[in-house]
């Protein structure tokens, strides 16, 4: 989770949904094994004490997909993706 660059040295830009969003909650708990408030603590520390760069928050899943599509080296998460143009989708199965 701490990795900031891809293997080709390009920086990773992370897009997330608001902490109350049900998908963010599920992704945090089930994929990252962390509670959203823990992520907030880490990200707030990065953002407001100069230590690093936190993920960029967008409001809706559609905004997230568009942000990833338009940002080189970006990652995000979504339940479904209808238009896969310009993005690479990795399915995660339980």
């Amino acid at each position: 989770m701490r990795q900031r660059k891809w293997s080709n040295e390009h920086l990773i830009t992370v897009f997330i949904l608001p902490k109350q969003h049900e998908l963010h909650l599920r992704f945090s708990k089930e994929r990252l094994q962390m509670f959203p408030y823990q992520l907030n603590r880490i990200w707030n520390k990065l953002t407001y004490s100069g230590l690093g760069v936190a993920p960029i928050m967008v409001n809706t899943p559609n905004e997230l997909i568009e942000a990833v599509r338009n940002t080189p080296g970006a990652v995000g998460y979504s339940e479904k993706v209808t238009d896969k143009k310009g993005i690479h989708v990795v399915n995660i199965k339980d």
Binding site: R2, K5, R26, G50, Y77, E79
Partner: protein
């Protein structure tokens, strides 16, 4: 059709195809702007913690704005400016909170190393880097044993260099190692808080060196840390009206009408633990300081009291919006004079015994209206005045109560 949890497809990770043909030109994500604003009310009964008349005060203002610009995949420039008004707690005004060049020296899947050059924040204690960030700290007033507001400007950060090394081990968890070296400029107000309004000479911080180590076991809700600080200050008596004394630890030693040249050596050791569960959060820090004073009061004066403190804190998340807080803290300025008998005797009763200790019982709550708007309320019961300013030359006239209380509420917004 909604996808059910525990079924096959949970989420998808999306990667931009641009990655493959990435162009190194700047993008919107290279520049980030964030900030916060918080305003509160604070009412102290029985001490000069915030003001001298004990009235309800709006001096609980914290505003900040920061920017971060990624120069390339190794270098980043960032800075934050804050305006703080905490009444007597610390100097009111605008400050450069941090302004630094972040150099990503080494990056590997399991190892990361960064060097920060410039004015950096203290990242060594549990809440030291977020003490000025209203929504990121656990309470409006932090435990004063470790996060003493009288030392805020000195301990919040330094001008110099800091190093952070992180390691993620597949068997043992996450490790963070931090080193820093630098010094802080001391404002007139900070000098007054530290020494007294009667100290008209100059004080400067010669250096501050710190190290800390944090460990979070693999898949654990616990995180453990230790830190060590070593700092030296020099006080030069007012040159306008001084008397020369024989050589002691200085080549020449001067005294003015009130104080003499002096040295202050400060060593500070902490251990902390943090547990973050789904509903419960526990944290605590234990602390020991050695505060050596040479000279200052008299040319031959020397003392090295060892102070000790600790707090335990619990937070309970009642709902997504509401969090409750309870905390208990104890601090002694001198572990060999925990009840203050010695200090009262040595000063012929001028400094009452309760200046030797500080105890704080806190309850509070915070309510999140949204992602970036929150209201916090808390009540403190204090016993003792060892964590009130001035530090070196206490003020028993303004602080003539062993027991004192405060309540505070603060509305916080951030983006």
């Amino acid at each position: 059709m909604p996808i059910q949890i525990n079924k096959i497809l949970l989420v998808a990770i999306i990667l931009a195809f641009h990655l493959i043909v990435y162009n190194a030109s700047a993008t919107e994500s290279d520049f980030q702007l964030h900030g916060f604003a918080a305003q509160g009310l604070i009412d102290v009964n029985g001490s000069n913690f915030v003001n001298n008349d004990g009235s309800l005060s709006p001096k609980l203002t914290e505003v900040g704005i920061n920017a971060s610009y990624q120069l390339n995949n190794k270098l980043r420039l960032t800075g934050q400016i804050v305006y703080l008004n905490g009444g007597n707690r610390y100097a009111e005004g605008v400050r450069v909170d941090y302004a630094l060049l972040d150099w990503s020296v080494y990056e590997h899947q399991n190892w990361q190393a960064n060097i920060y050059l410039g004015r950096f924040k203290n990242n060594h204690w549990l809440y030291s880097s977020s003490r000025d960030i209203p929504f990121a700290r656990p309470s409006i007033i932090l435990p004063q044993s470790v996060y003493f507001d009288g030392f805020r400007d000195l301990s919040v950060g330094s001008d110099g260099v800091a190093i952070k090394i992180s390691h993620n081990n597949d068997n043992y968890g996450d490790f963070d190692f931090n080193l820093s070296y630098g010094s802080s400029p001391i404002s007139d107000k900070q000098a007054e808080l530290l020494l007294s309004e009667y100290a008209q000479g100059d004080i400067k911080q010669d250096y501050e060196a710190q190290a800390s180590f944090y460990w979070q076991p693999l898949f654990s809700s616990w995180r453990f840390g230790i830190s060590y600080l070593n700092s030296k200050f020099t006080y030069s008596a007012n040159n306008n009206d001084n008397l020369l004394y024989g050589a002691t630890f200085f080549d020449e030693m001067f005294c003015d009408g009130e104080f003499c040249d002096g040295e202050f050596l400060f060593q500070f050791f902490t251990m902390n633990a943090l547990f973050e569960g789904e509903f419960w959060e526990f944290s605590g820090e234990i602390y020991q300081e050695k505060f050596t004073i040479k000279g200052f009061y008299q040319p031959s004066f020397s003392t090295s009291p060892i102070g000790q403190g600790a707090y335990v804190q619990s937070r309970y998340k009642v709902s997504e919006q509401l969090t409750l807080l309870a905390r208990y803290e104890r601090f002694y300025a001198d572990k060999d004079d925990k009840n203050g008998e010695k200090i009262e005797k040595v000063t012929d009763g001028l400094i009452p015994a309760y200046f030797a200790y500080h105890r704080d019982t806190t309850v509070g709550l915070s309510y999140d209206f949204s992602n970036n708007l929150s209201l916090r309320f808390e009540y403190h019961w204090f016993q003792g005045t060892a964590r009130l300013t001035p530090v070196v030359w206490p003020n028993p006239i303004a602080n003539n109560n062993e027991h004192w209380q405060l309540w505070a509420m603060q509305l916080m917004y951030w983006f």
